[in-house]
């Protein structure tokens, strides 16, 4: 019995061997790509399409697809057709995200890399793109270090840093709603840096932090944190969550009636979240990174109409715009420089201004030279139960200039190492 494992089957291994070899070849053969003509420019998007962040990743993908279609209609990049390759990074497994990043660059040989929604993945992918020297635009990972301590010469970012988000809303919160704040913070870098940003502002204004709690990322129950928060009796309860966590937290806070006793606020808020909440839970003061209702800004209406065609009538969110603006950035800079060389393009992108038909916001957003962070406009406002149209769920009170709220480059912790 004991030697069965090894000896019993060995005679049959002839066949296994042959079959396995044949299987591997057969199995792998679909990999073989029909030879692609060299007259295509490839843009790779590495974003979550499954798991918790699937919706955000999907929305960025739709924005990218629209941009690619428009770019091709206008003659492509350097006269060549543009193709978008999309890889699912999953929502939680960074190993897979890195693998897919290498696949896009090493196998598919993309000229530009876009992504990721997940900050940890954005950082890990930044290392890959830096190692393989490809221009990389981070679409939607907000953790400060992407354009701070983890910055690279080839990595740019379209979405805001967390510090920009807190700085834009802190003053309003303090003057309008009170100086005693309680934080409920998701326990990862995104949450930590948001809280630090608010704390810095609060200290500058002379307010008090009456308490803070770290809730685990992906928590389902927020009641124990809410119990602690109400016991501290603050003026404002600040929720620093994103996505599903924000939905769960707000849903529970409203069911407990806390919105009637305290002001509810936070930094980053997204249309995806407000859409997922029942009307009575659409509350609070927040920052949007882009909003679809900007009657006085040129080209926004056309963009909204184009996206609606692709989403079955749903309006674009900030995520659609992130994908759209990043993709267009690649085309614009390559056509301007008449080159696909990453080093050259990265240099040219420093200080590069987005034209109005891509910017879709006031104040001429541009990529800052020192840390490669886009300096867009931020929209401070409050959530509303229902607006003039079905998806008009946010009322913009104030548009803030990115340059006014971003930390100076010297304080970001970014030490850019020039390409070797």
């Amino acid at each position: 019995m004991a030697n069965g494992v090894f000896s019993r089957n060995i005679g049959r291994r002839t066949v296994i061997k042959g079959a396995v070899a044949a299987g591997v070849v057969q199995f792998a053969s679909p990999f073989i790509h029909t030879a692609r003509a060299a007259d295509i420019v490839k843009i790779g998007l590495n974003d979550p399409l499954t798991g918790t962040y699937a919706e955000l990743g999907k929305n960025e993908q739709i924005g990218c697809e629209l941009a690619v279609e428009q770019i091709n209609a206008k003659g492509g990049i350097l006269g060549r057709k543009v193709e978008l390759l999309v890889e699912d990074s999953t929502s939680a497994d960074t190993g897979t995200a890195v693998q897919k990043g290498r696949k896009l660059i090493e196998r598919d040989n993309v000229d530009f890399l876009l992504g990721n929604v997940n900050s940890a993945m954005a950082i890990a992918l930044g290392q890959v793109s830096n190692e393989l020297k490809r221009l990389h635009i981070v679409t939607g990972g907000h953790t400060d270090s992407v354009t701070g301590s983890d910055c690279h010469w080839n990595v740019f970012r379209v979405c805001n840093t967390t510090r920009m988000e807190t700085n834009s809303v802190a003053k309003t919160l303090f003057t309008k709603y009170g100086k005693r704040w309680y934080f409920i913070t998701p326990d990862y870098a995104f949450g930590h840096t948001l809280q630090q940003g608010f704390e810095a502002s609060l200290k500058a204004f002379g307010g008090t932090e009456v308490g803070a709690d770290l809730s685990p990322l992906g928590a389902t129950d927020y009641s124990s944190y809410l119990i602690k928060a109400q016991a501290a009796n603050p003026d404002v309860i600040i929720f620093l969550h994103a996505g599903q966590d924000m939905i769960n937290a707000l849903k529970q806070a409203v069911q407990f009636g806390l919105d009637k006793r305290f002001h509810i606020a936070g930094a980053q808020q997204e249309l995806e979240v407000l859409n997922a909440l029942s009307p009575n839970a659409r509350i609070g003061t927040w920052v949007f990174e882009w909003y679809w209702k900007q009657p006085n800004v040129p080209h926004v209406a056309e963009f909204v109409a184009e996206i609606k065609k692709r989403t079955g009538g749903k309006v674009p969110t900030a995520r659609h715009w992130f994908g759209y603006a990043s993709t267009w950035t690649c085309a614009l800079i390559a056509n301007q420089e008449k080159s696909l060389d990453a080093v050259k393009l990265a240099k040219a992108l420093e200080g590069f201004k987005l034209p109005p038909e891509v910017a879709l916001m006031p104040n001429e957003p541009f990529y800052r030279a020192g840390d490669h962070q886009l300096m867009p406009s931020l929209y401070v406002g409050h959530a509303v139960e229902s607006g003039s149209e079905p998806e008009d769920l946010f009322h913009v009170d104030e548009v803030v200039k990115g340059t006014d709220v971003a930390l100076p480059v010297s304080e970001t912790g970014c030490h850019m190492v020039a390409p070797s």
Binding site: N3, S29, F31, H33, V98, K103, A189, F190, H192, P216
Partner: protein, 316 residues
């Protein structure tokens, strides 16, 4: 059918693995995918040392895999930029943790053993996940890279040259797999098989069963932490997800998929699992349905894993 010499299967496996970087891109793969297959195959084969050859199911191997991951990451980031030292630290961390946990749980059997391995595994996972200042928490540990290895006369550029890294992985894989095969062929290995087949009888024969299971557990965890260390180097990143129970589940599935009674079964399982996911998920965002369906079909139609069905066909 002519019978080939005893080690023919192994020879073909080694031949395929050794030449992999040269045919991988020809069939549309890429070298990093090959490295991933080999690393995860090592993890699955290590698990199978315990599962397939001792008859003990662990559902918490990801914890020791993850200790290997963080051992490397923390060493390279904070201690010393030396890849080999990093690997050593990772393996040591995983092995010591396994030795301690193993001593506590070795009396348990069956479902209880599997469950208690989950419990301990999850405790390690939450430490990695919540101890932000050391492990980086959910954001993982970044800002470090594998360092080229100085061999005195020459320098092995495993950072810039992914083929060089593949061969480092394969070298470690070969060492570990040979060691496991050697152990299984030794009297110790035979005893493990005896325990798997009939624990009561083994006990009556005076075999110290608990001690043997403990040794098998520690060996298995040692090699899985080696796999973890290599996985960290592959990604240049340490991710708490690597310690979570569903990662353990993936290892078990790879072993069952390939055939847990066959020595090379988990390698086949890992190759199928990794390549299938990599390939299908590039074709459709509904890849999970295809993988799920594949699992179900394997269970229904290849009851002994993929190698099992190959065997049965060849026997008939």
């Amino acid at each position: 059918m002519t019978r080939l010499p005893k080690h023919s299967t192994s020879m073909v496996v080694w031949l395929l693995l050794l030449t992999l970087p040269f045919w991988m891109s020809a069939i549309g793969g890429y070298t990093a995918l090959g490295s991933r297959v080999v690393v995860l195959a090592l993890a699955a084969m290590s698990l199978n040392f315990l599962l397939g050859f001792t008859g003990v199911l662990s559902f918490g191997h990801a914890a020791y895999f993850g200790l290997g991951v963080y051992g490397v990451g923390l060493t390279l980031k904070y201690l010393l930029p030396n890849t080999l030292v990093g690997i050593a630290v990772g393996v040591l961390a995983g092995t010591i943790a396994a030795a301690v946990v193993g001593a506590l749980i070795v009396r348990l059997r069956g479902v209880y053993f599997a469950m208690v391995t989950i419990a301990f595994g999850q405790v390690f996972y939450f430490i990695a996940y919540r101890w932000n200042t050391v492990t980086g928490g959910d954001d993982g540990l970044s800002g470090w890279r594998r360092v080229p290895i100085e061999l005195g006369v020459t320098r092995l550029d495993i950072l810039g040259n992914d083929k060089a890294f593949y061969y480092l992985v394969l070298f470690c894989f070969a060492g570990a797999v040979t060691a496991m095969a050697g152990l299984l062929a030794s009297p110790f290995g035979r005893t493990l098989l005896a325990i798997r087949e009939n624990e009561r009888r083994a006990r009556f024969l005076g075999i110290p069963v608990d001690q043997h299971i403990w040794l098998s557990w520690v060996t298995s965890c040692m090699f899985v932490s080696l796999a973890g260390a290599l996985y960290a180097l592959l990604n240049n990143f340490a991710d708490p997800h690597d310690l979570r129970w569903d990662q353990s589940g993936d290892f078990v599935i790879m072993a069952v998929l390939g055939g847990m009674r066959a020595f090379w079964g988990p390698l086949i399982g890992a190759a199928i699992f990794v390549v299938l996911q990599d390939y299908v998920s590039s074709q459709t965002e509904n890849w999970m349905s295809f993988i799920g369906l594949f699992f179900i079909l394997v269970v229904l139609f290849f009851p002994r894993g993929v190698l099992g069905i190959l065997r049965r066909k060849s026997a008939s």
